[in-house]
């Protein structure tokens, strides 16, 4: 029920069918200090956020979306 996430394979589905993969994070950082920030200090913006969602109840593929954390609007939909 409620907010829909546009799965890249199945199309818009209720967010309850997904596992939330968190804010987009690079796989590595240039140095230890940057790595600390990469792991522990996400942007956590009040506004557009790039993030990962896993369609656990459906196709089990990962999708990257950009969502406005204030309104739950998804970019492009």
């Amino acid at each position: 029920m409620a907010i829909e996430i546009p799965c890249s394979w199945c199309g818009p589905r209720p967010f309850t069918e997904f596992s939330f993969g968190g804010e987009w994070r690079e796989l590595e950082a240039p140095d230890p200090e940057a790595d600390f920030a990469r792991v522990y200090l996400p942007e956590n913006p009040e506004g557009w956020q790039r993030e990962r969602w896993f369609h656990a109840m459906g196709c089990r593929t990962w999708t990257t979306v950009t969502r406005d954390t204030r309104t739950n609007a998804i970019e492009g939909s």
């Binding site: 209720p14 656990a56 109840m57 459906g58």
Partner: protein
């Protein structure tokens, strides 16, 4: 009214590139479900090769019938029964995958028959919940 049956159809998984899945020759009498960009699930597919070919671009084909159990709702009220189990909006004919009573299910619709395929370890749970939640609509 609608009837509930438990069935064990033949299920085959095809894992390969997008192209390989696009061009896979689906045997007659089989319902193909492209459940992911590189995964094709074939239901009731007797005779599809059981040999695995995991390397290269040729698809990896495996009989995974043990992994799935089908709960079949059939009858005039099959759709009404399903509406008590899931918020998924079913196509008039075809298939969809999503959540049905907390299980990750594949649902096939053909006429007044709704087939709910669930992972085998959840079959008992799903059957119990169907009988409880759709009790008013199920015949004995």
């Amino acid at each position: 009214m609608a009837e509930l049956r438990v069935e064990h159809p033949s299920v085959v998984m095809v894992l390969g590139s997008r192209d390989a899945c696009d061009s896979f020759e689906v045997p007659d009498g089989t319902t193909p479900m492209r459940i992911a960009p590189r995964e094709l699930m074939l239901v009731d597919a007797p005779g599809v090769a059981e040999v695995r070919v995991p390397t290269g671009s040729a698809p990896w084909v495996e009989n995974v019938s043990d992994a799935w159990v089908a709960l079949v709702l059939e009858g005039v009220d099959a759709l009404a029964a399903f509406a008590r189990l899931s918020e998924l909006e079913l196509p008039v004919e075809g298939w969809i995958q999503g959540e049905v009573v907390r299980a990750a299910a594949k649902v096939l619709v053909a006429g007044d028959r709704v087939t709910i395929l669930v992972p085998a370890m959840l079959a008992t749970h799903v059957e119990d919940r169907i009988r409880t939640d759709a009790a008013e609509v199920l015949g004995s």
